[in-house]
């Protein structure tokens, strides 16, 4: 038995991660750690971009604006991580829930329906509506696993934008819904003076940035707590062995539905925020590329590890939407004959492909893996050898069928 040969401490997973006093603190007061960490990051990011190499790219407000857009993808990645990373259900149509959240806000607060419900009320409503649709998608697909589930969710992801496109009496079709309200700060009159520091506006990205940081913090706290709870254990149990989980009393039906619902509701939050930020929704914002991008972020960041996933999403978004543009400007500035002709933005999916293939070969557990998953992939590859034929990038869902 290869398992016997493994040293015992090799199998230990320490709860806090880092040992020592800091590790002890972080594992005991995780929510406080998250709040402190996020506050630190939120405060430092706008300062870092004023430093030389980055300040040359664009102005601070532009940076902050792209940070809050990146935050949308961080939220999406965190939500998808619940479904794919924790419960092991491969979802290729995740953008659908993003769309549902965005359209919920568009219906609730725009000139299209002439309803003007405040952003702060629609934020939870959008999450709930998306969660309902998550359950709706989850319910018929409960018996499917792996590839089959992926295909059905892919279909769902295609259907939702198509419905928004074609039900034009209800959704204004391809033109989308414009004239969406920006969030208002309660008790503050923002209409005449849009330049006020606390008001949400196209040229005032700071409030969006702060709200996004708070949202991510809350989602991180809740998801970390869930991961260590009875529910999180059942998700992992289902991911590892569905039959054994059921025989030990885990209701696989409700547990999976909850994973779908939670993943979807996080996407719903992102959707509401996104719609309020862009002030415009159209079906083209929610195509398959979005689902794919988010999945790539989750896998590259480190499936199952929330910090990793969040960081991965942030980095990939920044590379894709900021760095590649800058690369164009950079080479244009140097007048290098061939390089200045290349539009790097056009090659972003090529770069994705290369990055994914490279990752799967070199570091299948992602950039910032959870210890557990790193152990999963490495012990099975190093010790068992024939046990898993090459690390499966979307590992969990195949595993249930093995035994």
């Amino acid at each position: 038995m290869s398992a016997q040969a493994a040293p015992l401490n090799g199998g230990r997973i320490s709860r806090g991660g880092v040992r020592g006093p800091i590790g002890a603190f972080t594992s005991r007061h995780r929510s406080i750690t998250i709040i402190l960490g996020m506050a630190l990051v939120t405060a430092l990011l706008p300062l870092i971009v004023t430093l030389p190499p980055l300040s040359g790219f664009s102005a601070q407000t532009v940076w902050i604006d792209s940070f809050s857009k990146a935050g949308i993808f961080v939220l999406l990645a965190l939500g998808l991580n619940v479904v794919v990373g924790m419960a092991g259900l491969l979802d290729l149509g995740y953008a659908a829930f993003f769309a549902i959240g965005a359209y919920t806000y568009a219906y609730g607060a725009s000139t299209f329906t002439d309803l003007h419900v405040p952003f702060w009320i629609l934020l939870p409503i959008g999450a709930v509506v998306a969660a309902v649709f998550g359950i709706l998608l989850g319910a018929p697909t409960l018996r499917l696993r792996g590839d089959y589930l992926a295909i059905v969710t892919l279909g769902f992801g295609e259907i939702v934008p198509i419905v928004f496109k074609n039900a034009s009496t209800w959704t204004n079709g391809t033109n989308g819904i414009a004239g969406i309200d920006r969030p208002l700060v309660p008790g503050m009159d923002c209409m005449p003076a849009a330049g006020q520091a606390l008001c949400f506006g196209g040229t005032a990205p700071v409030p969006y940035y702060v709200v996004m940081a708070v949202l991510i913090t809350l989602v991180l706290i809740v998801l970390y707590r869930l991961q260590d709870s009875r529910l999180g254990r059942s998700w992992q149990a289902i991911r590892e062995d569905e039959l054994a989980a059921a025989s030990n009393g885990v209701n696989t039906v409700t547990t999976k539905l909850l994973a779908f619902a939670l993943g979807a509701s996080t996407a719903g939050l992102a959707g509401v925020f996104g719609a309020s930020k862009l002030v415009f929704v159209s079906p083209d914002q929610f195509l398959f590329q979005v689902s794919f991008t988010v999945l790539a972020m989750v896998v590259l960041g480190g499936l199952g590890n929330m910090w990793g996933v969040a960081l991965g999403a942030f980095i990939i978004y920044m590379i894709q939407n900021v760095f590649l543009k800058q690369l164009n400007n950079f080479f244009d500035g140097f007048h290098v004959p061939i390089l200045s002709d290349i539009d790097f933005l056009q090659y972003q999916f090529l770069l994705y492909g290369v990055a994914l293939v490279g990752m799967m070969l070199l570091r299948p557990e992602g950039l910032f893996p959870s210890r557990r998953r790193a152990a999963e992939l490495h012990t099975s590859a190093d010790l068992a050898g024939s046990d898993t034929e090459g690390p499966d990038p979307l590992g969990p869902e195949g595993r249930g069928d093995e035994a």
Binding site: A3, S229, A237, L243
Partner: protein, 356 residues
């Protein structure tokens, strides 16, 4: 050695046994009545009969391919029997589905009513009002969704309603765990990448009650329950002899320990009846002996009733109160170890018919 192992009283000698023997005559815990399971033309189990009295250790044996595992899976609620039923504590748990056609109506009719009542209502109220249309569509869709979901999630009141309407569906594996039937698997099915402690805590799932909100808000109730669960899980690990290995990943345990962890995990749900599917398969004589002692200990200390499928005759003869022998899907013998050992049909099933 053989004689000692064959004596049924040896392993069960601890103090609890006499009391157990009294109860045995009174209460049948699990009763499998005339279970038949066909796969197409193949009859895997043919009207097999099994009685497990409370507090006893009953073994199910038989040569390879006798239908033991099929029978076991029927008892565990994984397969629906073609015929027959299984009662547990007097309650029918597993049988062929009855009047299943009623069920779609239970969730379908509310939706139909919602649509039939609301659509005309909308015509009366405001034919041109887009918001009213939206509202009606949403409500009708909502009712359909909710009723559909009830059919999938099956909350207790939904099951009660179905029961009232005469619908019968077999208990699902997780219902079995909740009712008090724990099980282990022939091929170890641990949660390989979870720690030893986490495995047992998953096993305790049905006895824990904190929900999504408790976890998200990290309520005191949740914290208390988790602490209690962790302590209880440690106790169970101590009981099966895995104390102090809480944080070891399950896959890194030696084989015999993995089997014992599976038992500890099953114990987490506080079962009344424990189904053990070949608990000593692949073990060396030492590990087998430890397991045999563990099985006896489980009954003595926890008052568990145990149903055992086993190949190792020393374990079977040593630990069982009663033995049922299956061959070609049929029960060919039932009785105490001595009776079964002496039964000519059993000898024939295992060794072949004597030359005529």
């Amino acid at each position: 050695m053989t004689g000692q192992a064959g004596d049924p009283t040896t392993p069960a000698a601890p103090a609890g046994t006499p009391a157990v023997a009294d109860v045995r005559d009174q209460e049948v815990l699990l009763h499998a009545k005339a279970i038949t399971k066909r796969f197409g033309g193949l009859v895997a189990v043919n009207s097999a009969e099994l009685v497990v009295p409370k507090g006893s250790i009953v073994s199910l044996i038989g040569p390879n391919g006798a239908g033991k595992t099929t029978f076991f899976n029927v008892v565990a609620g994984i397969l629906d029997p073609t015929d027959g039923e299984i009662t547990f504590r007097g309650r029918r748990m597993v049988a062929r589905p009855e009047r299943a056609w009623i069920e779609p109506f239970v969730w379908f009719i509310p939706a139909v009513i919602a649509i039939l009542v609301l659509l005309p209502l909308q015509g009366v109220l405001a034919p041109d009002n887009i918001e009213a249309q939206l509202l009606v569509a949403t409500v009708a869709l909502g009712v359909l969704i909710v009723s559909l979901l009830m059919g999938i999630v099956r909350p207790p009141w939904y099951d009660a309603l179905l029961h009232h309407l005469g619908v019968f569906k077999s208990a699902r594996p997780n219902d079995m765990a909740k009712a008090g039937i724990g099980r282990t698997f022939q091929n170890i099915r641990l949660f390989q990448n979870m720690t030893v402690l986490e495995n047992v805590m998953v096993g305790m799932h049905v006895r824990l009650h904190s929900n999504l909100l408790d976890a998200a808000l990290s309520t005191p109730r949740q914290a208390r329950e988790e602490a209690r669960a962790r302590a209880r899980a440690r106790e169970l690990l101590e009981l099966v002899g895995l104390g102090g290995r809480d944080d070891v990943t399950a896959r890194n345990l030696p084989y015999g320990d993995q089997r014992r962890l599976e038992i500890a995990r099953a114990l987490g749900a506080e079962p009344v009846l424990l189904l053990l599917d070949e608990p000593t398969a692949g073990m060396n004589p030492n590990e087998t002996e430890t397991t045999r002692q563990l099985i006896a200990k489980l009954r003595a200390e926890l008052g568990l009733t145990i149903l055992l499928i086993e190949h190792d005759m020393r374990v079977v003869m040593g630990v069982s109160d009663r033995i049922t022998v299956l061959d070609h899907g049929e029960c060919i013998a039932e009785g105490t170890p001595e009776e079964v050992r002496a039964d000519p049909r059993v000898i024939e099933a295992y060794l072949g018919a004597p030359a005529a």
